[in-house]
Amino acid sequence: MIDKVKKELEIRFPLLKLVREQHNYLHIKVDKAAAADAVLTAKTSLGFTTLQLISAVDRIENGAFQLTWILENYDEQEILLISAYFPRKNCVVPSLSQIWPAASAFERELFEMFGISFPGNPREGEDFLLEGWKDMPPMRRDFETEEYARRTFGERQPREHTDPRQYIGDVVGEWNTPMGRNREEEK
């Protein structure tokens, strides 16, 4: 049960902070040096063998990326989230792709979207979603998305009116509905 997991983790990592706890859900925060260790412990001795996701949140006001490994114990139907803060500048996080092959894809995505580097991932730096992207990683919060979209995809023309008939007429060049005709007949 989740209490046992919590106790076990507290013994091994005395510095951990509890974020949230429910009957089959536990979210803890550990120091960044202990993060990989905690994830490995959860896998090898606590039965959390499935890696569901590695997520990152840009905590720009703390100057850090919050990395969260979401693990699942399928037999007990339990979920464990292990978070850690890593400094934002030249962010380096230990890779888990040797342990879970699936982690490789998540790590490549985070590398592209946030610029977080995972040394040890054999496929790091390969194109994943943004092929040939040269700008700042787009999920960082200091990336100006709207400005970038305007620069790359062109200005968007503001709408001058909101009447769909007129709009369709502008685009298609022809628009007459039976409804319109009926209305005229009614008059």
Binding site: G132, W133, V171
Partner: protein, 187 residues
Amino acid sequence: MYCNQPPKKPGDKKEVLQKITNMARANSLWVTAYGTGCGSIELRPLGTSRFDMERFGIAMRPTPRQADVLIISGYLATKTLKRVIRVYEQIQDPKYIMALGSCTINGGMYFDSYNTLNVLDKYLPVDVYVMGCMPRPEAIIDGFSLLMKKIKEGRAVGWKHYRENLDYYRENQKQIIKNWDLPDYNW
């Protein structure tokens, strides 16, 4: 009532032949089964028994080589655009593009996204736009009937336009596809 007009003389042979060809083309639209955005969800009910597009002679084909309509069903990421260009150029002439949803018209609700293009017409020649977010199957059928009308009148010439203005389209495409490595179009 009877018709007192003198019988119309048939036009010259080529014209008549062209008209017959156009009619045949309009009544056997084969669509590449390729969906890019949320709008492709609406193509499933269109293909199955409730809306049944095969009564109009519209069928789904598994490969672009057998098709003549490409439906861009919603927002288009730049990564997908590269594949779409490839699919489009593999379709045999004559070919038509139908674009669904406000995303393809002016960006829709993804207008400020870092990775989806705003105006599809800059990159591929669109013959018919169908409005809506997302368009219902009825609207798509309406779009198809507009496309048929255009083909019968010989006005659906996007593919000719693409061929003649290839430089313009290529320039726009290369502007947003950063790692351009498609082969040159040869007919």
